[in-house]
């Protein structure tokens, strides 16, 4: 297959030494195997995620994503925009939809962008990395690159919210999407069937502002994975990954549980199965080590 090129929007959490830097490391390793070239949008900015709304309001928020689209149109005009972060993907897609639906908003947004000499059309397709994998490669092709199948691992596919709603992945249902389970299977592991928390909310940004309410949700997400016999959780979202992984000690303290469940990205699983070593797969970025994957990666 020929090299595939995309206009890449990494997002704040994927930057060096940021909270999802391990995600980026594993995405790079995965793309190396699949011969994907990610052309970073020059000087991209934050999308304001799902929490900036109350500080910024509507138009300033849309202007943020519009600036990224405008820069992408200049630098990588013939490529689809691809994001690895659920919130980045959602905010950019939402902005595109809003601008095309409402001519006044499009006009006002361009009026704002003109302050920095920019102009947006918003015609580039905006996609999540998972869509690239499923639609531009397909499970069969993805499976061909597996060198070390993740045999004997039972993994709960936690899709979460924003990679799934409101846009979701084509052909998947909002209530019971299967793509993550299929990816797990393609890598040679066993997906957890009937994982009832697979699209439940982890609290998102409110894990910071409403920690107790959010941790109650997170507890259920982890507990249900344990109940099904999973030894690991996999997710496509940086906020899901962080929220479900890093508060386990606090949850154990509060609820008397003994959680120690590794939470990894689909790209972590894929780079390990594709033969990358632990560092290349970002396994050193786990707060709760994924020992099962380390064993395979360091073979």
């Amino acid at each position: 297959m020929a090299k595939k090129q995309y206009s890449f929007y990494p997002g704040c959490s994927s930057q060096k030494a940021a909270s999802a830097s391990n995600y980026m490391v594993s995405v790079d390793a995965m793309c190396d195997v699949l011969d994907i070239e990610l052309n970073e949008i020059p000087d991209w900015n934050c999308c304001s995620a799902s929490i900036g709304y109350a500080g910024g309001g509507e138009l300033p928020r849309l202007a943020l994503s519009a600036r990224n689209m405008a820069l992408s149109e200049q630098a990588n005009p013939d490529q689809d925009i691809v994001a690895t972060c659920a919130a980045c993907w959602l905010a950019t897609k939402e902005t595109q939809e809003r601008l095309h639906e409402d001519g006044d908003l499009m006009k006002e947004t361009n009026e704002a962008l003109a302050q920095a000499g920019l102009k947006v059309k918003g015609d580039q397709k905006i996609r999540h990395m998972v869509e690239v994998l499923i639609e531009d490669f397909g499970y069969d092709e993805l499976g061909k690159h597996v060198k070390r199948p993740l045999e004997g691992m039972k993994i709960a596919g936690y899709v979460g919210c924003q990679t799934n709603r409101p846009f979701g992945i084509d052909g998947e249902s909002f209530e019971n999407p299967k793509y993550l389970d299929k990816l797990v299977e393609t890598m040679g592991a066993e997906p957890l069937d009937n994982y009832e928390k697979k699209v439940s909310c982890c609290g998102g940004a409110l894990a910071f502002s409403e920690p107790e309410k959010s941790q109650a949700l997170i507890k259920d997400i982890i507990e249900s994975a344990y109940d099904g016999g999973a030894e690991m959780i996999v997710t496509p979202c940086p906020v899901c990954q962080m929220n479900v992984e890093i508060y386990q000690d606090q949850i154990n303290q509060k609820y008397g549980t003994k959680f120690k469940m590794p939470v990894v990205y689909y790209s972590t699983l894929m780079s390990v199965a594709y033969g990358k070593n632990g560092k290349e797969a970002g396994l050193d970025g786990q707060v709760i080590r994924a020992k099962q994957l380390e064993e395979v990666a360091n073979k």
Binding site: C12, N22, G57, E58, C161, P166, S200
Partner: protein, 210 residues
């Protein structure tokens, strides 16, 4: 519909609904709610809402301006989008909740100590300074948002999480002095300033804002 009838409908429509339609993001959808309650039943924070979305929609139509805008309810939205995909009438409920919260804050009517409101503002200030989020500064400002002594307590409580993240190289202490940023942060700020001006102008001219 006759002109007179149209005129009467316009004249007697509840004015808070019209205010919401004019000034709240996606507010013109509110009248479409059919009160089925699927949104309220689908919300992960459902039990924590004083007035769940379905109720807020009815309250808006009933003109309960003060009760709606001073409520903490819409600040409970986690942006999970469950309500959006399940609403039989396809109301963009998540956005309306964000819009109501933002509007209440804009009018100075939101509860003063609402933690998500404070966090949202800190997040916005943080990102608009350099164009990219500085996670270290955001975290620290969040711990200290309820004053110094509360901040020390929260920092101690969160110490292990911070250390774990640093050990995993997912939190950089050096962000305290520098950190990631856009090269054209000035241009970005000019864009945001203009967008804010346009939006404020739009609301000021709608005839309802204070």
């Amino acid at each position: 519909m006759s002109d007179l009838n149209t005129q009467m409908v316009e004249q007697y429509r509840n004015s808070f609904l019209r205010e919401v339609e004019a000034n709240v993001e996606e507010g013109d959808w509110v009248k479409m709610c059919m009160q089925c309650g699927v949104c309220s039943g689908s919300c992960p924070f459902g039990p924590h809402w004083e007035h769940p979305p379905q109720e807020l929609f009815m309250m808006i139509r009933a003109g309960k301006r003060e009760e709606v805008l001073t409520s903490s309810s819409m600040w409970m939205c986690t942006s999970c989008y469950n309500c959006i995909v399940r609403c039989p009438r396809e109301l963009p409920i998540t956005h309306i909740m964000h819009g109501l919260a933002t509007y209440a804050k804009r009018l100075g009517m939101a509860p003063k100590e609402q933690p998500t409101m404070k966090f949202a503002q800190k997040f916005w200030d943080n990102l608009s300074k350099t164009g990219r989020v500085n996670e270290l500064k955001l975290g620290i400002s969040l711990y200290f948002m309820n004053g110094f002594s509360e901040g020390v307590k929260t920092s101690l409580k969160m110490k292990d999480i911070g250390l774990n993240m640093m050990k995993a190289k997912r939190l950089n202490p050096m962000e305290a002095v520098g950190g990631h940023k856009c090269k054209d942060a000035k241009g970005l700020q000019a864009i945001l300033k203009k967008a804010q001006e346009i939006e404020e102008g739009r609301i000021a001219n709608s005839g309802y804002a204070k």
